[in-house]
């Protein structure tokens, strides 16, 4: 469900090339993955998928795959 638009926008949030965004990307290990990045990600996910990520959701996110999974799970539950 992750399209190019989402990847491109997300890459700008963490100030990284879209080519470097993959499932194994360790978000928790990035200095750019901070409180401001979380707020920006909330709006990006809301715009793209019409779901809101909570603080608990972010707590569970270590790798990019975790972010994808939590979005997919929320998206399915709100269908």
């Amino acid at each position: 469900m992750m399209n190019d638009h989402f990847i491109r926008e997300f890459s700008s949030i963490i100030e990284m090339s879209p080519l470097k965004i993959n499932d194994d990307l360790n978000l928790k290990g990035l200095a750019e993955w901070d409180s401001i990045a979380c707020l920006t990600t909330i709006t990006l996910v809301d715009r793209c998928f019409k779901v809101l990520l909570s603080n608990d959701d972010f707590t569970a996110v270590h790798y990019f795959r975790d972010l994808k999974n939590v979005i997919a799970k929320k998206f399915e539950s709100e269908k």
């Binding site: 409180s35 401001i36 707020l39 909330i42 709006t43 809101l52 909570s54 603080n55």
Partner: protein, 323 residues
Amino acid sequence: MKSCITAVSYAVPERKLTNQDLVALYPGWSLEKISGKTGITSRGIADEDQFSLELAGLAAKKLLADYKILPDKIDAVIFCTQTPKYLLPTGACILQHQLGLRNNVCAFDINLGCSGYIYSLSAAHGLIQSGQAQSVLVLTADTYTKLIHPQNRQLRTIFGDGASATLVEAKKRGTEIKEFSFYTDGAGYDKLIAPMSGMKGLLSGQTYQPDLDMIGPDIFNFTIQCIPDLVENILQKHSLKKSDINYCIFHQANSYMLSYLREKCGFSEEQFIVDMEHVGNTVSTSIPIVLSNLLRAQKIDSSKTVLLLGFGVGLSCAGTIIQ
């Protein structure tokens, strides 16, 4: 008789915390990132011996002097703060004495944060409409920076200290305060909290360590979910369309949040005021700061319709129209 806002002033501490200061304190934090996302370049920081009481006194004295208001004219004083100098007595009582107000005034405090200015206007409006007062002094002041741990980069970036003073008077004509709408969700009480700041902390036997904690994503979600509905409710209550609103003055939380709220609520950039660059998020004082600046720039008069909306700690929201 209408309840009208006839004067607004504010005061912020002379001491500042700039983005340059923050970058020096927290390497890796860039100037562009801080100002780009928060819309803040500096914030007022109260001195060690300067509390909300002193700041409110400054704002009130400025109001009385700037607008040549005689203290004897005031029938009631409402003081909104979440960082009182003393848990008791009531700050409004001390301010009654310090400002030289009459003894037969009504004086009380309100403990609310970012929605506090709207609640205080509501209380002033109620006193006037019930005939108990003709002239109400509404004061807001907070020193949230005293609750923030020096290592808390996120909160030090956002919050600034400040105070405001507003005169609400019974008038036949003027900038009238209309009806209010409220929304409360106490289930989110721990989303913005200073857990040891009250009696619990005093009785712990330990020296208070600044412990303000904010769960930003959950507060953000709360505002995204409740504010657009509250705006609709306020508009419906006043039979207004979004295009009828000249200015939206929302609580100045941070520019990123405000930008997204504007988008969700469907207002234009021209309608939506963001004015916090040199003061930061001043809690209950943020709305009157914007209001004062607009009044001083003569952008608000009785021909304008303005939406005021506060939201945050509690969790609590409130809004009204002034027209």
